[in-house]
Amino acid sequence: MKTDMPLSKPVRLLISQTEDLLDTEISLIRNPEADPNGTLVDIYTYNVERNIILLPSHYIGLLKDFLIARHCVHLLIKGSAAKKSHYLVCSFTGDSMYRGIHQIYIDALKDEAKKEKKLPVIKLIRMLGILYSNVNDEINELPWNPITNASVYHRMPPLRKTQLYYLMKEGKMDMDAMVEYESVIPRRYFVLSKSMFYARDQYLAKTLPADELMPVVNIPQMKKFNHLEVKEMLTTRWTHTSWYQSRIFGDTMLEIMEKYLQNIDWNAEPGLDYFHEIYKTGVKMTDHFLSYMSMKGWFAWESSKHLLEAREKKAAYEYGALKKIFGDLIEKSALDDGTET
């Protein structure tokens, strides 16, 4: 482990355990520009020589420890997959991107037909590729979030209060994300994206018993949550108009989540085989989500190298897909410089 920052005992032990199991090294780096969720830059996903966990500079205590713990569990899942079989991620090809973008386009047309104020064509075309990539990012991240959270909850009781705060904070950030694009994105995708977050929130609210997680009431900003159960609070959040449809789909996604995660023994001996089983469960759950969202042919399970290369070729794939849909109406320059086609 490479760091000079103080760490609580359970987190230090988890880092050592992760390093021993994976025979690797983890560096912890604080950076003022770091993402509020921290970032795991690992050897199984990126073309790097060492694992780095980047943390926001102002996280100095247990908030930092919680993020480290979550990233360590994620690293264990990735690493065990790589060591025991193959670590695969949801990647894409030109063909799969065409299938995704084509479907988004059809759904967007349906939405546009009902709109009084139509979206400018160039905006609509640009949205297709952006939304496709966004779904790719989400499907590669979100299913692992309830898994790493549940694991940290069961294995690291001293971090539970911190986890509650973080769940409230992260849940709010995820709810608010994309809201400003609500009128641009086809309703179906807005709702599906939010439904995944809704399912995550509800799963964690059920998994993390409220009695142990009553908020830290000495904090003035959190007083309003006093005597309010976590589940009640998270459910209430999702009843507002922007998100109410998410609950309908989200309840089904929660069922999917529970179907797969209920079989995990969170307190079992944490060896490579154990984390490899969790990885396989996460893959099955992701597949079920994709099938439920009718996105089965959108992505393919490939190596992380494949995904990195696909990201590099994204512009070409996107251009090819748009050309197939719109024919000669699409000019490369129109996508590059923002002029209308």
Partner: protein
């Protein structure tokens, strides 16, 4: 060089330090200290950089210089606790943090380091109390930061 010029060097050094440009920060702090070694803030700032780059013995010496110049400098006591923790001198670290917290009870880092050291010393119940206090303060700080970020 006047103490005013030394202040300017410290400000410049700090601007580098928050961007984690430790080498540049250290050079400016060195310059400021050679012109005005009576400023406890300068010793404290240099100690902060020393800790970041793992030069804990030098960090501890700088903290002690800062404290000699101002016995009630809460930040220097807190930083001293941090340096002592890194040097695995847990008992002394707990005492330094306790002194820092007597001067400023809202120092989240001091509560956290106190908690970590108490944990190392097997004083688990006291450690949990310190962690709890540190978490409360850290959350308040985070909420304020988020508000600022959102404008």
């Amino acid at each position: 060089m006047t103490s005013k010029e030394s202040e300017v060097l410290l400000k410049k050094g700090y601007a580098y330090a928050i961007r984690t440009k430790w080498r540049e920060a250290l050079a400016l702090y060195d310059k400021a200290l050679s012109s005005d070694p009576t400023n406890p803030e300068a010793w404290y700032l240099r100690a902060s950089v020393f800790i970041e780059i793992g030069r804990n013995t030098e960090a501890l010496e700088d903290c002690e210089r800062a404290i000699t110049l101002n016995q009630n400098f809460a930040g220097a006591w807190s930083k001293k606790g941090h340096a002592l923790y890194n040097l695995e001198r847990y008992e002394e670290a707990v005492s330094a943090c306790a002194r820092a917290l007597a001067l400023n009870g809202n120092d989240a880092a001091a509560w956290y380091i106190k908690g970590v050291c108490l944990d190392e010393l097997g004083r688990s119940r006291e450690a949990q109390e310190a962690y709890g206090k540190s978490l409360e303060l850290e959350i308040i700080l985070d909420i304020e930061k988020e508000k600022k970020r959102q404008g």
